[in-house]
């Protein structure tokens, strides 16, 4: 293809885009980026590489310092969401940018509701909403407030909204982070269909499998700079990883080496935590569960199957209304997370934005928050101690940028996730509950976290991990409990812990 020809098929062309955030952080350094009509283009890079920033500067949510954005042969200067939409760019941002207080239907049609005589036609809007969502395999009450649904549902709604805007370019920033395998498949079907209609799609993800499954070309960013653009077909995985990390990933072994297992766990001992008939009306049916020190228990199931609720009961966030919880064999009554914290529990919630980070506070303050809460208000951690703790975990988890005083809300999504993990690791817990710990985390850090989980286990920590990635869960779990419709339906141990077995249990009806 010669130069002129390729320019002609370019739908979105970015030239020399630069962005320095207030405070002097250079998030983008003269990045070039091109999306053609009818292609799915992956935008890749480590956490904090500048992917989301690139997207936001294209749509004008954050104003660019320098550079050009061409759409369909015309230079555009959108200054806000409305102008970007009008120009033909539909975007799903990384943090779901929808309104939890509006109904699902209103979210889908905000600003373009069907009206008659100036009045919104609710019925028509509801009908079209249901139709639209059915295309994504979602059958929900569209008149319910969006906030009542899990992030996953919200994400699908956001995607549906963007798709329905029928723009020329569709940008999806980590749409699959909170989806399970089935939903990802649905999304891909829709994407392929849009692609065939000539739409250009930008797709950000940390799942390299997905890149290979659906993308035509890819662009890699590192530290705000452009690393390169490649055609996906024929690009070896190792090569891609090297592009992203700038180094080889020594043994990205998702290999199922569960060799460490039986050596550590003493099955005769009193379990660290034991749930007996624990349950809550309307949340989870009563279940039994055993957590032993040095052992990883995985919770698997579809979205909405009650995994989070299980975790919340054990951590005392919600109060159980039946059954009992035993810690070291003695029955305890948790009146709230504080009680759990005192017992040495830790809990990384799934919904990072609303339940995890405290956006306005600095990274340091976020990391020491639980530690401080356990110490009580009267015993403040000295600044020196705070810095020590923060620095240690920033290094350990490679949180970037490594500035502990930056408000955490300004960090990239993946780095926020790491900081929340750090908060609990800092308390040195004996029982740790992780709800989707690797969500939005890049390949490098992903491997890092899994290594960390194993190490913690070896040190005698009892772990309860919830993950939608079955492959990931079987890679480190000693046992897997499968949930369906808020019931604990199966428990797999030992050699039963295989991807296949887990998937069958999930799917069984």
């Amino acid at each position: 293809m010669n130069q002129a020809e390729s320019e002609a098929s370019d739908l979105l062309r970015i030239r020399r885009l630069s962005k320095t955030y207030p405070g002097g952080f250079r998030a983008l350094k003269t990045v070039d980026f091109t999306v053609r009509a009818g292609e799915i283009h992956a935008l890749l890079g480590e956490n904090g590489a500048g992917k989301s920033t690139l997207i936001k500067t294209i749509t004008g949510i954050t104003l660019r310092d320098d550079g050009e954005v061409w759409l369909d042969g015309r230079e555009i200067h959108p200054r806000n969401g409305e102008e970007a939409q009008a120009a033909g760019i539909a975007t799903v941002y990384q943090e779901v940018a929808l309104l939890p207080n509006l109904s699902v239907a209103q979210n889908l049609f905000l600003g373009r509701q069907p009206t008659r005589f100036g009045l919104v036609r609710e019925g028509e809007m509801g009908r079209r909403s249901r139709q639209l969502l059915q295309g994504f395999g979602l059958d929900i009450d569209v008149s319910a407030p969006l906030g009542e649904f899990s992030v996953a549902v919200q994400h699908i709604v956001a995607i549906a909204r963007a798709v329905d805007l029928s723009a020329k370019v569709l940008i999806l920033d980590e749409p699959t982070a909170s989806l399970d395998a089935r939903e990802v498949e649905v999304l891909f079907t829709v994407m392929r269909q849009l692609k065939s209609q000539g739409m250009g799609i930008v797709f950000v993800t940390h799942f390299l499998d997905q890149v290979h499954a659906i993308c035509d070309r890819l662009t890699v960013l590192r530290n705000g700079g452009l690393v390169g653009e490649r055609t996906v077909a024929g690009l070896p995985r190792m090569e891609l990883v090297r592009m992203m990390l700038g180094r080889d990933l020594e043994a990205v072994e998702t290999a199922r080496s569960r060799s460490h297992r039986d050596t550590v766990v003493d099955r005769g001992a009193v379990p660290a935590v034991q749930a007996v008939g624990l349950g809550k009306h309307g949340a989870v049916a009563p279940f039994d569960m055993i957590l032993r020190e040095g052992e990883v228990l995985g919770l698997s199931g579809l979205l909405g199957s009650g995994r989070t609720e299980t975790a919340r009961l054990i951590f005392g966030v919600d109060r159980a209304d039946q059954g009992e919880l035993r810690v070291d064999g003695t029955s305890v009554r948790l009146l709230g997370p504080r009680d759990a914290l005192r017992l040495g529990f830790g809990f990384c919630p799934e919904e990072r934005k609303t339940e995890g980070i405290v956006a306005e506070l600095s990274v340091r303050e976020n990391i020491i928050l639980a530690l401080q809460a356990r110490a009580g208000w009267l015993r403040p951690l000295s600044r020196k101690r705070q810095d020590e703790v923060a620095d240690r975990f920033i290094k350990l988890l490679d949180i970037r940028p490594d500035d502990p005083d930056k408000p955490i809300g300004l960090l990239s999504g993946g780095n926020q996730q790491k900081a929340v993990l750090a908060r609990w690791l800092a308390t040195g817990p004996r029982v740790l509950i992780l709800d989707e710990p690797t969500r939005g985390i890049d390949v490098g850090a992903h491997a890092e976290i899994i290594r960390l989980i194993r190490k913690l286990c070896d040190e005698g920590l009892a772990l309860l991990v919830i993950s939608s990635e079955v492959e990931e869960i079987v890679s480190y779990a000693d046992r897997v409990t499968v949930l369906r419709d808020r019931h604990h339906v199966a428990e797999l141990t030992g050699d039963e812990v295989t991807e296949q077995r887990v998937l069958t249990s999930i799917a069984a009806t």
Binding site: E365, A373, P380
Partner: protein
């Protein structure tokens, strides 16, 4: 060459200085100071002295606002504690009298805190209840009259002085230091900010958000009652009908001038207090100016808007660009 100004608070300090300078233009003897009966005397002293109640209220209010709350009842609490102090002043020792007045303030705060944190009533309505009923309670104590007293001990809180500094200013400064020590010397500040910024996340991190909420309302009630004692001591009597009337708006305004958003999170005690001073400097200026009182509100409106526009992000960005240009 760069001008080193603290980023945070430069707008407020600037506004305060600007208003003082304007006052000086309006009234040339504005900065004059002399010692009168062992007490500093002058318009500048008045700004601090008269501003003490609002400064105290702002100190309390800023923490409440940091937890996404609001306390409308501070004016009423001032009236109650003033009434209590004045009724007890001549019959009981100052310790009992003060203890009762401040205790009542804490109690009022506890009530508000429970309504907000335990019964989960929206703060504005929760505190509105005490705003309405509280003034009634104060009037009930005084039976609608102005209860006067002669106790010199109590009078010190209004008219006394320490090393020439008027007692209200001393009290406000002490309260500020105590508050700073409490909030920044312990982990309370962090916990309050976390609660205000994201209550759910803070709860999951093990912070007792309920305790934090109750505590800030109690602190706010305490500050209000101290302000009430000062106001009563100042006129040697408790005027339950008028003490602290509409002062809640001034207190909120002070906090907002001091910077934090009304939607919780980061706060600065010092800037809130500075906000209170800015309001009082403006009021004193109006009084010194000699304009007819019909103009008071129009002047106030103008000043408030100007002070605010001074610290809007747009203007700050503009200013930054200017400074960067000169560097």
């Amino acid at each position: 060459m760069s001008i080193v100004l603290p980023r945070k608070g430069s707008a407020q300090i600037g506004a305060f200085i600007l208003i003082l300078l304007i006052n000086w233009l309006v009234s040339p003897q504005f900065f004059d100071l002399r010692l009168q009966d062992g007490r500093l005397f002058g318009s500048l002293v008045d700004v601090f002295n008269r501003g003490a109640p609002v400064m105290l209220l702002a100190m309390g209010m800023v923490l409440v606002i940091a937890t996404r709350g609001i306390d409308l009842s501070v004016g009423a609490v001032m009236a109650i504690s003033g009434a209590v102090a004045a009724t007890l002043a001549d019959s009981h020792s100052i310790v009992i009298c003060l203890g009762a007045a401040l205790g009542v303030g804490l109690l009022c705060g506890l009530w508000n805190g429970i309504l907000v944190a335990v019964l989960r009533i929206q703060p504005i309505v929760a505190t509105l209840i005490l705003m309405v009923a509280g003034r009634g309670i104060a009037q009930l104590i005084t039976e609608g009259r102005i209860v006067t007293f002669t106790s010199r001990d109590l009078a010190w809180f209004g008219g006394g002085s320490l090393f020439g500094v008027p007692a209200p200013v001393v009290l406000a400064v002490v309260a500020l230091v105590v508050a700073l020590a409490l909030v920044r010397g312990t982990a309370l500040g962090l916990m309050i900010e976390a609660t205000g910024a994201n209550a759910e996340a803070s709860r999951l991190a093990g912070i007792d958000t309920r305790l934090m909420t109750v505590a800030v309302y109690m602190w706010c009630g305490f500050c209000a009652s101290l302000a009430g004692v000062i106001v009563a001591a100042d006129i040697l009597g408790a005027d339950a009908n008028n003490a602290g009337l509409w002062l809640e708006l001034d207190a909120i305004l002070a906090v907002v001038i001091g910077g934090p958003s009304l939607f919780g999170g980061r706060f600065s005690l010092v800037l809130a207090v500075l906000g209170g001073l800015i309001i009082q400097a403006m009021n004193t200026g109006i009084l010194l100016s000699g304009y007819p009182p019909e103009l008071n509100l129009v002047i106030k409106a103008t000043v408030v808007l100007v002070v605010l526009l001074l610290q809007t992000p747009r203007l700050i960005a503009f200013k930054d660009r200017l400074f960067r240009g000169t560097r």
